[in-house]
């Protein structure tokens, strides 16, 4: 379940702007996902490319040397919407189970 969530987060960041590996891991960290090591994104990026959800393209970066920038494909956009939908319906249910006592006490 958690693997799919990291994929969703990576797709969402790439949807906002084309990124390369280093900036992608930076953004994940800045959003509070500090538990996962930076390298973890590379197997995920490979998988997303294999599924045709993202494509990489060599472009010059601000820092100078060419970097592989990733952009979303139409299939990737579709997959992201699916993940968003699933996550939306998942969150209240999981909250309900995990924090049942809290909700009950609050009543």
């Amino acid at each position: 379940m958690l693997k799919g969530i990291l994929e969703g987060c990576i797709l969402a960041i790439i949807e906002r702007e084309a990124v390369y590996g280093y900036t992608l891991s930076k953004q994940l960290h800045e959003n509070g996902l500090t538990e996962i090591s930076e390298g973890t994104i590379y197997p995920v990026l490979l998988r997303l490319q294999k599924n045709g959800y993202i494509v990489g393209e060599m472009r010059p970066s601000e820092a100078g040397p060419d970097r592989k920038y990733y952009t979303l494909t139409p299939e990737g956009k579709q997959a992201l919407e699916q993940i968003r939908k699933e996550w939306k319906s998942l969150v209240p249910s999981v909250n309900n189970i995990l924090f049942k006592e809290w909700y009950d006490d609050g009543r």
Partner: protein, 224 residues
């Protein structure tokens, strides 16, 4: 970029790593390149991406272990699981070229040796087919065994930090010893295999010409 260009650039950029980061990253490189099943292009591309990442992280004072985790072997395996297989056609091409080159050299060397010795003594230019088959099998096994043993030794010493000179020397000695011993066996088999099987005449000049053509073809194929 082609695989060759990526490998060259990788070697250049790796020099910018600190000693500790270089040891960690190089083991990743060796481990991934040893997986001969994988697409070379994809492997080199992701290695380059990670090298750029590590160089950026290094500027911020981070270590390779902080970037890629404390379990490099597991991390490498998770990458390998996602890299596509090499196109089988590339395999046929790779082995085809290798065999062409090997046979080319064997023919050229055979031709040259016979010509050289024929100045001093009578040399037979006859090929005994069964004997030649034994030689070919033995030489193939010799090559396969030594590559296998070398890879096995390298693999055993991957992801062991810090790198110790003593360990590396021991590994080199093992590989050298295996090569020496198997060479001895190879020579003994060649010396004691009797002339047997159907024969045909394969003169030295033909051996030279044929081997030369094979090496030329190989040379041009390499450029394409």
């Amino acid at each position: 970029m082609t695989v060759d260009e990526l490998v060259k650039l990788n070697n250049e950029k790796r020099k910018l790593l600190t000693e500790e980061n270089e040891a960690y990253y190089t083991d990743l490189v060796v481990y991934l390149r040893m997986k001969w099943r994988l697409s070379e292009q994809q492997t080199e591309e992701v290695l380059m991406e990670m090298l750029d990442h590590l160089l950026d992280a290094q500027k911020e004072g981070k270590s390779a272990a902080e970037v890629f985790g404390d379990e490099p072997l597991q991390f490498a395996d998770s990458l390998i699981a996602e890299i596509a297989d090499e196109n089988p056609l590339n395999w046929v091409e790779f082995f085809g070229k290798l065999i062409l080159q090997l046979l080319g050299w064997i023919f050229v060397i055979r031709g040259a040796i016979i010509m050289l010795f024929s100045f001093f003594t009578e040399v037979k230019e006859t090929v005994y087919m069964l004997q030649a088959a034994v030689f070919a099998t033995t030489i193939s096994l010799f090559i396969i065994f030594n590559i296998w043993f070398m890879l096995k030794t390298v693999k055993k010493n991957l992801f062991v930090f810090p790198k110790e000179k003593k360990r590396e020397r021991k590994a080199s000695m093992q590989v050298g010893l295996a090569a020496g011993l198997s060479m001895l066996v190879l020579l003994l088999i060649i010396k004691f295999t009797p002339e047997m099987g159907p024969t045909f005449h394969f003169p030295a000049y033909l051996s030279l010409v044929l081997g030369g053509i094979m090496l030329l073809v190989h040379h041009f194929l390499k450029k394409v």
